[in-house]
């Protein structure tokens, strides 16, 4: 008789646990990894980590299958002589050879024309290093994923309130009573958001979700408000209309903390038309938002310096006549006049939400904000020196993400939403929106890019930051004809406020040589041959396109990836990266830390297992290249290599010699006694290791709220070099910054001027007050022919395109359906589970249909990036991902059809260059019964790349790292 199975006895082996930080997604939870005999057995949420407090998500708990995935690249590879890009024919080479190839090429470009080297990075979290490298190299052609991701959210809010959702702030659900979530499926704050929503609901909070689709978070909302895609701006404006009309706005907040009561010149004739009326108090020339605006005081009935003690301004009040006869109105008056036309009835026709519901939503928000006020006994001092005994909160919290961001009207929509939040008085207050360090920033933040071609010089670091925040037209990165300096045309008149670049146009622009040709394109952690490119089918052709003399239009492509992705197939040189469990990483204050509402937090990754094969952390690659090319930041005064490796760099690098600011804020100073600022500490890594890989600094309570105007906080931030100024950051109800661009477009200013074909565009969209316009693609589409909107959503159990190599996660999402309302489908003759076509102006896909009652009937949607190219990710050629799955991107154009503003204008927000993913309009019809039962388009199968693993086994038995044969 065999031994009876003991259900409790742990299998033998040496057990150890190590803490590090997850990177199955950008949320960056703390994880605890249990190893048995050195092999990963279990990954759990670290209970002592401030972000996730022990919880973990589906992806995080599947890290094992990523670590041991056969799709991992483990060898540096060089494209086989004579093979085409995309064929994935490679030879293994050594790292020495790889470095030599890169060094030769990049050094040559740096001494001749540094902008011919372009470095673009995807969903990484090390922009502090990649940006530094690009700047040191001297190329303007650098950006991370923000442009195709959610820059509208960042800039729409930062240009309005000095902080943003995304990774920079969020809803305070601990104290909110009403929570309105707009256009969010999953977002970056994955785990904490889930925990917070659950707690919020259990505490009796009311949760409203505004989304064309009801899944995920929306599923557990108390009320689902189905909205037509791209129309949130109309809804926000109607809500503001109703709040102003009923007086449900927080007057005190608007007066003191925003530019609402500040006077704007309304005299068309005067020089300062559209600008704030200013007093002539002296101003700091470097400060963007000097405190020199005026109010109209009701007691003295005249213009006074804003916020002077004892004055009491009008917030509305029509037009005022200044002493010199100029006319002026308050910002709020202008806003009220603007939203006059935006009635709920008007919005009903656009959004599909009944007017009575819009009104009710407005009342729910307004009444909750007014009647459920929170008073916390926290004394604080405002920026003007006034003491307050308490902190007040109006407990209405919002959250929004790409549902508003990924439309070409997103910037103005998000401004409207920020203003709505402001009107309710919920900014950096309990129960409302809360900032996370290093936010709030000045409006706009101080960082600026170069301003012209002269800022790009051979053998010289770039003059200016790699990315920045234009405050007026003169900050644009254009030549004297107003033409872009950057390959992605960021910071040019086409997309002036493109704070995160336009990565989605890089390949097309480089292929076309517009504005110029480049030589080497280095792509790190972005699958641009698949889901981060719009117009994917054509982009794949462009990557492989040659000119008459047989040379590639993009001469050299380097891809740093960890997996056999679709992109890896197009590389001339493949650099195999480590996984997150094999490398050092920092979630730095210089980039996007994981700060909490109560103070700054940064964190690190410390390897738990050694690198696989010849994998090398990309950070090490950059340090090595920087050292070899003797870029100043990586080289000592004596011209020697400065940093041994990346961990050494992290410890010893300072933003400027002696600045005391480095990549990590915790345990600085010789013995780790300082925080935020201090000399390098040789034991810094050890201290992070001891402390769960995270540094969390809790600010005093009095610094935790009202940070835009909190003297204590602003001073603290300034002292710790988080900010240059300690000026209050007043909210921009009226955006003078936008007005300056409009004035330039109208030819009323002296500085930089847009090229003529863009004047109308800039004039129209740079409206200083929020307004609603139809997304650009809709404006340019025959909406009778293409009546539907097509969207994607993030599935919670998959990260972009990169989890199909994961044996567990791919069982949850093996392929994707197009989700269609039954009526919509039936009118097109499409059956539930049947094959259908979705076609845009631009392309078409064949896919499987799934009926759903949980969608606004004019919208169809699918899970993003589940469909894969044949053979990619080491999946078999008949894998469901490529045969039944599909990618929506084939329908989405990266450029708009030619129109007034010209040809080849990016399909993006005209202000920020945010990719308009969710603007695409489609029609659908039943697939012919004779059609192959297979998704379309299909691509030639990608063979296994050298160094990847075996996938032939029918069985997979995971036993703590060992892929065992089943014991039978």
């Amino acid at each position: 008789m065999s031994v009876v199975h003991d259900p409790i006895k742990a299998p033998e082996g040496r057990i150890e646990t190590k803490n590090t930080t997850c990177y199955m997604c950008a949320c960056r939870c703390g994880i605890r990894v249990t190893l048995r005999d050195g092999e990963i057995r279990y990954i759990q949420g670290n209970p002592d980590h401030p972000l996730n407090k022990g919880i973990i998500c589906a992806k995080g708990a599947s890290g094992i299958m990523k670590q041991y995935s056969p799709a991992r690249l483990t060898k540096p590879l060089k494209r086989k002589e004579g093979s085409e890009r995309g064929d994935a024919q490679y030879d293994e080479i050594s790292w020495d050879e790889a470095f030599q190839i890169m060094q030769d090429r990049l050094e040559h470009l740096r001494t001749t024309d540094p902008k011919k080297f372009a470095l673009f990075t995807g969903r990484d979290q090390m922009q502090a290093l990649t940006g530094l490298f690009a700047k040191q190299y001297g190329t303007p052609n650098y950006a991370a994923h923000g442009g195709f991701c959610s820059v509208n959210m960042a800039s729409g809010m930062i240009y309005t309130i000095g902080g943003s959702f995304w990774e920079f702030g969020g809803p305070d659900l601990d104290r909110a009573k009403l929570f309105v979530m707009i256009g969010t499926a999953e977002d970056h704050h994955s785990n904490p958001m889930k925990a917070a929503i659950s707690k919020f609901k259990r505490n009796g909070g009311r949760f409203i979700s505004i989304n064309p689709v009801r899944t995920g978070y929306s599923a557990i909302a108390d009320e689902w408000v189905p909205i037509k895609p791209g129309t949130d701006g109309a809804l926000m404006l109607a809500l503001i209309h109703e709040l102003i009309k009923t007086g449900l706005y927080d007057r005190d907040f608007l007066v003191q903390y925003t530019n609402s009561a500040e006077l704007v010149s309304t005299d068309e004739a005067s020089d300062d038309f559209g600008l704030f009326v200013r007093t002539d108090i002296p101003r700091d020339p470097d400060c963007f938002d000097p405190q020199d605006h005026v109010w109209w005081d009701r007691n003295q009935d005249k213009a006074v310096h804003a916020r002077d003690e004892g004055t009491d301004p009008y917030l509305l009040g029509g037009e005022f006549t200044l002493a010199d006869g100029r006319k002026a109105k308050t910002s709020f008056q202008l806003l009220a006049e603007r939203v006059e036309q935006y009635t709920p009835e008007w919005a009903e026709g656009i959004t599909g939400i009944p007017a009575k519901n819009i009104k009710r939503l407005a009342y729910e928000m307004g009444i909750t904000a007014r009647d459920e006020k929170i008073e916390l006994p926290i004394a604080w001092t405002d920026a003007w020196g006034k003491d307050h005994d308490t902190v007040t909160g109006n407990p209405v919290a919002f959250h929004s993400m790409r549902g508003t961001a990924a439309h070409s009207n997103g910037f103005q929509t998000i401004r409207a939403m920020s203003i709505l939040m402001t009107v309710l008085g919920t900014i950096d207050r309990p129960g409302g929106f809360r900032h996370k360090a290093p936010f709030p920033r000045p409006i706009p933040p101080c960082a600026k890019t170069g301003k012209g071609p002269e800022d790009v010089q051979p053998n010289t670091p770039l003059n200016g930051m790699p990315l920045g925040w234009p405050a007026d037209p003169n900050d644009l990165f254009v030549d004297d004809k107003g033409q872009p300096v950057r390959i992605d045309k960021a910071f040019s008149w086409e997309h002036p406020l493109s704070a995160h670049g336009l990565m989605h146009n890089v390949i097309t622009n480089a292929w076309r040589g517009d504005p110029y040709e480049i030589d080497t394109l280095l792509i790190f952690m972005a699958n641009m041959a698949w889901n981060s490119s719009m117009n994917t089918s054509d982009v794949r052709k462009m990557l492989n396109d040659k000119n008459e003399n047989g040379e590639y239009k993009i001469p050299f492509i380097i891809v740093a990836d960890a997996f056999q992705s679709e992109m890896a197939a197009f590389a001339d040189l493949v650099l195999p990266d480590t996984t997150y469990l094999e490398r050092h990483d920092v979630m730095s204050m210089l980039d996007r830390p994981i700060s909490e509402y109560d103070g700054p937090v940064d964190s690190v990754r410390i390897p738990v297992v050694p690198p696989t094969g010849d994998c090398k952390p990309f950070q090490e690659v950059l340090i090595e290249l920087g050292s070899r090319m003797k870029l100043p930041a990586f080289t000592t005064d004596k011209g020697e290599r400065k940093f041994r490796d990346y961990p050494d760099f992290v410890v010893n690098y300072e933003t400027a010699p002696g600045s005391g600011i480095g990549f990590l804020a915790g345990w600085r100073g010789k013995g780790g006694e300082k925080s935020m600022k201090g000399e390098p500490n040789p034991d810094q890594w050890k201290m992070y290791e001891k402390n769960n890989c995270v540094f969390h600094m809790e600010l005093p309570k009095s610094y935790q709220y009202m940070r835009n105007w909190n003297r204590g906080y602003l001073k603290w931030a300034q002292e710790h070099n988080l900010a240059r100024y300690a000026e209050p950051i007043n909210i921009h109800i009226y955006s003078e910054i936008l007005m300056k661009f409009r004035l330039a477009a109208q030819g009323k200013t002296e500085g930089k001027q847009p090229p003529d074909h863009l004047r109308k565009r800039v004039e129209l969209y740079f409206d200083p007050l929020p307004f609603y316009y139809e997304p650009l693609e809709s404006q340019l589409t025959d909406k009778h022919k293409y009546p539907l909107n097509a969207l994607t959503q993030r599935p919670m159990a998959m990260y972009h395109s990169w989890d199909s190599q994961n044996a567990w996660l791919r069982q949850i999402h093996t392929y994707n359906f197009m989700h269609v309302h039954p009526e919509t489908a039936r009118t097109s003759g499409i059956e539930d589970g049947g094959w259908m076509w979705a076609e845009s102006m631009h392309g078409k896909v064949r896919c499987l249909c799934r009926y759903t009652e949980a969608v606004e009937p004019g919208t169809i949607w699918t899970w993003n990036a589940i469909g894969k190219a044949k053979g990619a990710w080491r999946l078999s050629n008949d894998a469901n991902e490529s045969q039944q799955g599909f990618l929506l991107n084939h329908l989405i154009a990266e450029e708009l059809p030619a129109h007034d503003a010209g040809e080849h204008i990016s399909n993006s927000d005209p202000l920020t260059g945010q990719a308009g993913w969710y603007d695409v309009r489609v029609r659908i019809y039943k697939a012919d019964d004779a059609d192959p039962k297979m998704s379309y388009p299909q691509f030639d199968a990608m063979p296994a790349m050298p160094g990847t693993g075996k996938t032939t086994s029918k069985w997979l038995n995971f036993f703590a790292g060992r892929l065992t044969k089943g014991a039978k």
């Binding site: 199975h5 929306s218 009652e853």
Partner: protein, 243 residues
């Protein structure tokens, strides 16, 4: 008598599948393992899971509810899967009511899975023994784990804490209180299996607005009316009467 069980709060479950993969991850290399996968990188991948999350739609647009519904073995108090097992491999532990399979006895006849109305037993197609949720029994009594972690892996993982764990026979336990106060219910009560796991229904928070809340005296609009600032030039009552 102790009856350990899970209570799943459908009111907060967002369908994230964290419980699904963390279960697989913990159990595949523990005493309940392996949890074999078949065709892991090929067509129709399939494998053993102890816990799955499903999605249902209730009602019609626009009154649609989307329900995420996790399901694992419910550790029935009167489990029909146990008496039918010809080998005694399926058993219910006396001490805590957990229903388990002894892999060393199981002959893989699948009969117990036919006898479970809930579809939560999954034969391991390679090892050919029956597998199912063990309630992570190997964590619950493991003294090497900190007290706070002596819970099922899925419970520790769940981001919304939609999964409560405890003794449903102890009226004061968190799970019993939740069942009692939040309307916890068992699945398919019609079969008398008395599932120990319970589900908590969706609950709605609504707001009621009263007319007068829109017209209050403290309405800031009252402050925005501008009076005439300069003296009025045209005749006023002051020009014609005196009192």
């Amino acid at each position: 008598m102790t009856q350990l069980a899970l209570v799943i709060d459908l009111n907060v479950c967002v369908g994230c599948h964290a419980c699904v993969t963390s279960c697989k991850e913990w159990n595949t290399s523990g005493p309940a393992g392996f949890m074999t996968d078949e065709n892991p990188y090929a067509k129709d991948p399939t494998g053993t899971f102890f816990n799955r999350v499903q999605t249902y739609e209730i009602g019609e647009f626009p009154n649609t509810e989307t329900l995420h519904f996790p399901k694992s073995c419910l550790h029935c108090e009167d489990p029909p899967c146990v008496p039918v097992c010809p080998t005694g491999a399926s058993y219910k532990r006396k001490e805590d009511g957990i229903v388990l399979v002894d892999y060393d006895k199981c002959i893989g006849c699948r009969y117990c899975s036919w006898a479970c109305p809930y579809g939560v037993r999954e034969i391991d197609e390679q090892q050919q023994v029956m597998k199912k949720c063990t309630l992570c029994v190997d964590r619950l009594y493991d003294e090497t784990l900190p007290e706070s972690e002596r819970k099922p892996a899925c419970v520790l993982a769940c981001p919304t804490s939609a999964r409560l764990y405890g003794d449903v026979h102890d009226p004061e336990s968190e799970v019993s209180v939740a069942i009692r106060e939040e309307g916890g219910y068992p699945l398919m009560p019609e079969w008398g299996t008395m599932p120990s796991n319970h589900y908590l229904p969706r609950r709605k928070t609504r707001m009621h607005i009263h007319e007068d809340e829109l017209q209050r005296a403290d309405n800031p609009l009252n402050k925005e009316q501008r009076g005439p600032s300069a003296p009025v030039k045209t005749p006023t009552l002051d020009d014609s009467t005196s009192w």
